[in-house]
């Protein structure tokens, strides 16, 4: 699980810390522009680094800098910093930090510092172009790397259980979601273990999960049938060489069945399908860290509470579920003890985050937010 996230000088974050406090289920609430979706971008960036995206230019850009002035900082020589602390699937604690800088005499960002600590043992540190790797107690080795390459994805790991590889595998496994139904297609020519945040590759995700782990299909179907009780099956029919096309088969009047293509599903049904694959993965594949930006989007009002509670049940015994929302039903499906408020006092101020229980609010959080009274 992610325990802490720190972001400096990136988008709306400036010396901003999110402390998840060991919560395995977290709701992040906040107004528009408070930084909820930016969190998805930061986590996606870190996941991409762990997955092999190592060119600094592909990680950050001048556009990703905080737009407002860095108080007390050097605007001509900006730095961005990212830190993530968490507990990996094995239970070991991990802390990774990456600092990037734009030298005053250059237009290209480079790595300023980088470090990885696993179970209180420093695995490697890096300063500019030099990486120092701790190989054994009291034994280090240093080697140079391109200053415009992040070291994490390129450090060699001799075994799967090497700390660097274990950390990369944990970070690569984050399920990061912000589905855009209009981009989601039902066609696939291959599989993918995780979808892009916008889920344009939903069909490839479904294909990979249900092919590699056939037991997931029953959980997937059962999850969907809660909302679509007439759904009989979901079939991935061949539609060309290596190509498959998703069809949802429903039982109609007089027991007759009829199939509709994925493209014919509503936006809400597509998002429910995403939730169903996620629930199936959590049940059959194992602990996942999932961040979902507004899972209530496109979902009918009467279904939101059920969807959120169903997702929470899927992550009840393992993994971590972090969702953002401003939907009253979603807010009520989480307890205030599990809720964090992310807020900015104005568009020129950085995002801050506090547990809702520390805000001294009385009454219903959703009502309080509707009145605009949630700000500290």
């Amino acid at each position: 699980m992610i325990r802490r996230l720190y972001v400096h000088n990136h988008r709306c974050f400036l010396n901003t810390e999110l402390d998840f406090g060991g919560r395995s289920q977290v709701l992040i609430v906040g107004r528009n522009g408070a930084g909820k979706t930016s969190l998805l971008h930061v986590l996606t960036m870190l996941r991409d680094v762990a997955g092999g995206r190592n060119r600094v230019a592909e990680v950050v850009s001048d556009d990703s800098l905080t737009g407002f002035s860095v108080s007390g900082g050097d605007d001509a020589h900006p730095t961005q910093r990212f830190e993530i602390d968490g507990e990996m699937t094995s239970g070991k604690r991990a802390a990774y930090a990456l600092a990037l800088e734009l030298p005053a005499d250059s237009r290209a960002w480079r790595v300023l510092e980088e470090s990885l600590v696993i179970a209180d043992q420093t695995v490697y540190t890096r300063s500019l172009a030099e990486v120092t790797l701790n190989r054994a107690p009291n034994s280090t080795t240093s080697f140079p790397v391109d200053s415009q390459q992040v070291a994490l994805p390129v450090i060699g790991a001799p075994t799967q259980d090497h700390p660097v590889e274990e950390f990369r595998r944990w970070l690569r496994g984050f399920v990061l979601l912000g589905p855009v139904p209009s981009l989601m297609g039902g066609e696939s020519v291959s599989g993918t273990p995780l979808p892009a945040p916008d889920c344009h590759d939903y069909a490839a995700w479904f294909r990979e999960v249900t092919t590699q782990y056939p037991a997931t299909y029953a959980v997937f179907l059962s999850f969907l049938k809660r909302t679509l009780p007439d759904l009989e099956s979901v079939q991935n029919r061949p539609s060309g060489r290596d190509a498959r096309s998703l069809e949802y088969v429903f039982r109609g009047r007089a027991g007759r069945t009829y199939a509709i293509s994925f493209q014919s599903l509503s936006d809400g049904e597509r998002c429910l399908s995403v939730a169903a694959v996620l629930a199936a993965m959590s049940a059959e594949i194992g602990p996942q860290v999932c961040f979902w930006d507004e899972p209530d989007n496109f979902i009918g009002l009467g279904e939101v509470g059920h969807l959120i509670r169903a997702l929470r049940r899927s992550f009840r015994d393992h993994g971590q579920l972090i969702v953002t929302s401003h939907n009253p039903e979603a807010i009520r499906a989480f307890s205030q003890e599990n809720s964090l408020l992310i807020y900015r006092t104005s568009s020129s101020e950085p995002a801050r985050c506090r547990p809702v229980t520390e805000l001294g609010l009385s009454g219903d959080l959703a009502d309080t937010m509707a009145r605009g009274d949630e700000m500290p």
């Binding site: 509470g305 509670r309 009840r316 009520r332 599990n338 009454g363």
Partner: protein
């Protein structure tokens, strides 16, 4: 969404603390599609008023609906009778009025002190109550702050337990 024409349970908590307990309960039932938790009413008297003004009509129209009012009794156990007496005939037997004899936070303090509530959350209380319902026991329901619900809990075991749990 619950199927209104099949047996289902609607929970009306009086405040956010009771809502949190209800959330913890729902996370541990077997058929979460058969239970719907509403937003906090804003006090036990508001919950009673909502029952009479809004929910009685729904209970009349939908014979498979049960309604659970989750309230703090604040040392006034006559609240249950007042609510039940106000319910019209044909509906009262599907209304359940339960809660702590004082308030939920005091129950939490007690359970933490007794080393029963881990983690120390209001949802954890809901989990304990659901565990009893599933097993048909009263380990938590017999707690001094909850024991006054014995008759309601007995009715719930007969009527609500088969709706929510695989028994």
């Amino acid at each position: 969404m619950v199927n209104r024409y099949r047996p289902h349970v609607v929970v009306l908590p009086e405040d956010t603390a009771n809502l949190d307990v209800a959330n913890g309960f729902v996370l541990h039932v077997d058929r979460d599609c058969a239970i719907q938790v509403l937003g906090p009413a804003g006090g036990w008297d508001k919950a009673r008023d909502d029952l009479l003004s809004d929910h009685v009509q729904g209970l009349r129209r939908l014979p498979e609906r049960r309604l659970v009012l989750l309230i703090d009794f604040d040392d006034d156990l006559s609240r249950r009778g007042a609510i039940r007496d106000a319910c019209p005939g044909g509906v009262a037997d599907r209304v359940f009025v339960i809660g702590t004899n004082t308030e939920v936070e005091e129950l939490r303090r007690d359970l933490v002190g007794e080393g029963v509530l881990r983690p120390n959350t209001l949802e954890g209380i809901g989990e304990l109550l659901a565990a009893d319902c599933r097993a048909g026991t009263d380990d938590t329901w017999s707690h001094p702050r909850l024991a006054h619900n014995a008759d309601e809990y007995a009715r719930m075991r007969v009527d609500l337990r088969p709706i929510l749990f695989d028994v």
